[in-house]
Amino acid sequence: MLSLLIWTPIFGGLATLLLARDESGLAAAKFLALLTALLTFCISVLALLLFNPNLAGMQLTVDIPWITALGIDYALGVDGIALALIVLNCAVTALTVLAGWNVKRQPGSYLAAFLLMCGFVNGVFSATDAALFYVFWEATLIPLFLVIGVWGGERRVYAAIKFFLYTFCGSILMLVAFIWLYDYLGSFDILLMHRSYIPAEAQPWIFFAFLAAFAVKIPMVPVHTWLPDAHVEAPTGGSIILAAIMLKLGGYGLLRLSLPIVPDASVEYAWLLVALSLVAIIYIGLVALAQTDMKKLVAYSSVAHMGFVTLGTFIFSELGLTGAVYQMISHGFISGAMFFCIGVLYDRMHTRNIGDYGGVANTMPRYATLLLLFAMANAGLPGTSGFVGEFMVVLAAVKANLWWGILAATALITGAAYSLWMYKRAIFGAVANDRVRALKDVDGRELTVLAAFAALVLLFGVWPLPITNLIDVSVAEIAAQVARGKL
């Protein structure tokens, strides 16, 4: 089952790549890509049905010896958290393929890259062997590197290489930590790492090696600087995947590896992570306020929102962890939708500068309505999915320490400020210029994508139960592991 989730999009992507080599196969390649993406999504839903959320531990497991010389297994398995993120990934990939339908340059390779990405990311979420995890983790870099570099904006080369080297540097340290654990435990099995005793003097080293990889990916202050660059230069689809999926890999890594493997070091250095999270929430929120480029604004707001994820994670309470996971999923939908909305405007006007717009509501009423919803969700308005996760984390923070809660809650104000202020400047008011006057409203394809995002944002805003039910047991397990410690 999980193998299907990984290999269907990869082989579909390769087939798309082959099919799209000449002009005649292009249309077929595009449909193949869409079909693969939808099929993958259906498989993920099937996996959801087969999964029993009331059981602790890994389900749908696969374990085949792979590289026996190095003790590496092809071992897969998911818990509720991983499965929720896999479904998110498959859903967003399908929408991204639809969003990238009309790319001008080499559309076949473009869509194929996202399918490959989808398979690799599913691999990361389902790997229970550390070396396999690392293989998929690094493999995700290649498609996104090419997507940014080939289809990106003017400074795409700088952004692509910066993105690659930043994440690669962090990952290498994680790999060394894996190797150390392998040497110590004699296995790359992540579940064994969860169970085994790790000496106190080694824990901080492993913790910070993991943190190097995950902090870059999430990204946390102060290693977040690659993200605005990458987002601004990436094409629309690249931005959607980057914000909706890639950032979640970091958050997932903390939950799957850092907390259970080195719980004592996690608790010991929680103060640092909480402080960095609060800096991300407050300071980066203010930075977002000052942006004139729409994509940069949303990119910074992503950093601020991911601050909630790390804050919730390092409070260690069940409520905080649930909030963190919920926030990851909700942010996947909201940021994906925001970047797609910006892409819709960019396709028409070829500018992301807020000052170039104004009065778009007059010419694109349907678009303006939907964007308002996403802007509200981005600000964390009750009734949208953005509210649920943030609220849980703030609540958990208040329980842990009143001041953390108060500081985190300010994000609800800055979030509203930058989201709605951008909306006001770009969408409301009189029509700013002739180019805005000439804008056409969204077409059927764009509307489909936006409506799907909107439905998900509203659904999980008013009815969080499906997600919380799915992740409850897994979250409780992680919280218990941290509380128990290893020393």
């Binding site: 590289i67 190095l70 293989v135 290489i161 290498i172 060394v176 190797i179 040497d183």
Partner: protein, 474 residues
């Protein structure tokens, strides 16, 4: 001791006789391409002989000069296959430059014979003999075009510095002999464990390490390498960058892990500093290069740093990891220089970074193979280069050299930059207006595809080869 057993050296003898036959045939009117096929057939024949007589257990032949073992066979097989690969890539390149002659091919076969001998050596003199046979043939291969100033300069540099290295090695060997009164490697190991003249032995060790580092091209004994790689005709560079690296690994393993095993405490520290220096020099200076050939030369230095990291571990696991690294590196290096040779034309060498610009548009197949090579060299999974690195790091951490693994890891990030720059030039940049179109002929396309596929397959299923490497060390 074992009697004269010609069967043990059947591949070497076959190769040597084949080389002689090729020299004779070169005087006839047979075309160079035919001779090239002949040379490849001879190499394949030697590989077949080796395969048929794959030794099950360790033994000795020629009065202990020669080791018969799975390790020998593995190394020899790697050398033979790498030689076939390098020669196959170079057909057109050599023909266009009038170098596709019986002499070049015969020298190639003699060099391969030397390497096989080196890989099988169980005795210090046999080791030295193999090394010299290899080196002298290589000098001549570079210098074959006597009107090419750059090639002559490269050959002379290689010769002078190579001779110094051989001298150092020989001096080291003589000091070891003075301290142990033995030349057979197992006997040296036994005597070295409790040698009285420890000072002499250590001095010998230092010279041997320096000599081996010279041959590997590890910093700070790397000075010759960029100039030789850059100046030599690309086909010769490809030859030097492939099989001889496996042979140099064999040299290091025979001397250090074989003869001087008791001094592991001493030499692992020495090698660790060589490894760090190579990683630093190779990766950092490669960034500043404008020529792909020189860049690959510095990258070769950095790869030797990774390889040494495995040997430093001083464990069987580490030697096996380094052996795997040597094989994978030979595969990647031959592919890299092979691309340069294939894309060169009679009147224009393909060697500057600017030549690579927009290759994805001019020749998608060549760009795709180069992409695989670059990512593999950078150590990105799931390609072969990643497992090579993973294996050596794993061995290093296992032997308590965690800091070395961290240093190597960080330098691999530095390395990723210049490999990615090639990818960037190929895929992100548009070709220059006057850049010539480049095409690959059918058989070469097939060869390149096979090379790329092998790297991917070794990336997906590295287990078999890795296991074989580990078994070779028991």
């Amino acid at each position: 001791m074992a009697e004269l057993n010609l069967g043990a050296a059947a591949p070497e003898l076959f190769l040597f006789l084949g080389g002689c036959a090729l020299l004779l045939l070169a005087t006839t009117r047979l075309s160079g391409r035919l001779l090239l096929h002949g040379a490849n057939l001879i190499l394949a024949g030697a590989a077949l002989l080796l395969w048929l007589a794959w030794p099950a257990e360790i033994g000795a032949a020629f009065s202990g000069l020669y080791e018969v073992s799975a390790l020998t066979a593995m190394l020899q097989m790697g050398i033979l296959l790498a030689t076939i690969g390098a020669l196959s890539y170079s057909g057109d390149y050599l023909a266009q430059r009038g170098m596709l002659t019986g002499e070049y091919l015969a020298l190639g076969l003699f060099a391969a014979t030397g390497m096989l001998l080196l890989a099988a050596a169980r005795h210090l003199l046999a080791l030295y003999l193999g090394l010299e046979l290899m080196s002298l043939s290589l000098y001549a291969m570079i210098a074959l075009r006597r009107d090419d100033v750059r090639a002559i300069e490269a050959a002379l540099k290689y010769f002078v510095l190579g001779a110094i290295a051989s001298g150092l090695l020989l001096y080291g060997i003589s000091l070891v002999y003075a301290a142990t009164l033995q030349l057979e490697l197992p006997a040296v190991a036994a005597a070295a464990a409790d040698a009285e003249a420890r000072g002499v032995l250590l001095a010998g060790l230092a010279f041997i390490v320096a000599g081996a580092a010279f041959k590997l091209g590890a910093a700070p004994f790397h000075m010759w390498l960029p100039d030789v790689y850059d100046g030599a005709p690309t086909a010769a560079t490809m030859f030097i960058g492939g099989a001889p690296k496996i042979a140099a690994y064999a040299l290091a393993i025979r001397l250090l892990a074989g003869g001087l095993e008791p001094l592991v405490e001493e030499w692992s520290g020495l090698l660790a500093s060589l490894a760090v220096a190579s990683l630093g020099v190779g990766n950092v200076i490669a960034i500043a290069q404008t020529s792909v050939k020189r860049m690959l030369a510095y990258s070769a230095i950095s790869h030797m740093g990774f390889l040494l990291t495995g040997i430093v571990a001083g464990s069987e696991e580490g030697y096996a990891a380094a052996m795997f690294y040597a094989f994978v590196y030979a595969l990647m290096s031959i592919g890299g220089f092979g691309m340069l040779a294939l894309l060169s034309r009679a009147d224009a060498e393909f060697e500057m970074l600017a030549d690579v610009k927009g290759l994805a548009k001019r020749n998608p197949a060549a760009a795709a193979l180069t992409l695989i090579l670059m990512l593999s060299m950078a150590g990105i999974p799931p390609l072969a280069g990643f497992y090579a690195k993973l294996a050596v790091w794993s061995a290093a951490v296992g032997a308590g050299w965690t800091w070395l693994a961290v240093v190597a890891g960080l330098f691999s990030v530095v390395g990723a930059f210049y490999y990615l720059r090639v990818v960037k030039l190929m895929y992100f940049d548009a070709p220059d207006g006057d850049a010539p179109a480049v095409a690959l002929r059918g058989p070469y396309l097939l060869l390149a595809a096979a090379n790329g596929l092998l790297i991917i397959l070794l990336g997906l299923f590295p287990g078999g080869l890795l296991r074989a490497c580990q078994l070779a060390f028991g």
